[in-house]
Subunit: 157 residues, 2 copies
DNA sequence: TATTTATACAGCATTTTATTCTTTATTTTT
DNA sequence: AAAAATAAAGAATAAAATGCTGTATAAATA
């Protein structure tokens, strides 16, 4: 695919908002028939523009009410240790994101836990067991104004 | 719904991984027929456990290669100003998350941009126009070890 | 310029899935 | 123990996905 045209971008925008829409309804919105829309979606999937389709859950309703960010600095920085650290961090079910960053920390983590108590438990019984841990800073989410996975594609047009 | 049973949790886990699976294939995996699975999914949607279904895009392939986190401190803290700040921040297409946090910052943002240059442009031409801005700290993502929206539900069982 | 080739899409046919309904078994309540 | 509620199987129907054919338009080639 040379590049994405207007129709492709529109399809991606719609599927980011609701991936359960029928091909037909997308086709109608774009003033086309189902087949070209169907074929374009398959192409976007095949060529990797679309990584997949997922259900988004209501964390709070499920009992996981607390989001926490952690800035972590390590004391050692050997390659083998960094890799080990990432592997272990990724295995914790509480951790949903783990980014190596430049700036005032080495790593930034995003966690989802039941509540503050569960977070404290995570720190005591899991995190602090990791060696070479340096400075650890917690950012406890009080409220969330925006939290989406939707990438704004208007910039591409 | 009193609460989620084992089958509900399993369904949620599967739909978090791939929401395009057919009812039939989920039913087969769980050793049931399609109708109960179908009804359970509808119930989970209706009662708000499932917020929606979305396509996950390949950011890099689309040309948005850089993720950045920003810790922001405000100088003023009147209610009306905080609200205005959040509203304006949420309107920036670059910002995909905006959390009010306790800790060393007032707000933590997550942004997705083309590259560092685009990030600099965001700061100069958008962010710094906001009044009452205090300390701003950037955490530039170098690499990402884990980045998922999938909530681990094994904790609930 | 004429001719071929590739691309995109409409429209229809077919297969597969989603959805609804009925019946039966099981559990819960009284 | 009887009645009511719940859960699921199985079949029937509606809707959607998927594939195919033909046509128009654009791009490439001679």
């Amino acid at each position: 695919m040379a590049n994405l045209d207007t129709v492709d971008i529109k399809i991606l925008e719609l599927l980011q908002q609701n991936s359960n829409r029928t091909t037909k309804s997308i086709a109608e919105e774009l003033g086309m028939t189902t087949s070209p829309i169907f074929e374009r979606i398959k192409k976007l999937e095949k060529e990797g523009y679309i990584k997949g389709y997922v259900a988004v859950l209501n964390q709070k309703k499920i009992g996981l009410k607390q989001t926490v960010f952690m800035g972590i600095t390590l004391q050692g920085h050997t390659r083998s240790y960094l890799e080990k650290f990432v592997t272990q961090i990724n295995n914790f079910p509480e951790v949903i994101e783990c980014h190596r960053v430049s700036g005032n920390f080495d790593y930034l983590l995003k966690l989802v836990v039941e509540d503050i108590e569960a977070y404290e438990h995570f720190i005591i019984s899991k995190l602090t067991l990791l060696p070479y841990l340096g400075n650890v800073q917690s950012l406890i989410t009080l409220s969330t104004g925006k939290e989406t996975n939707e990438i704004n594609l208007s910039r591409l047009q």
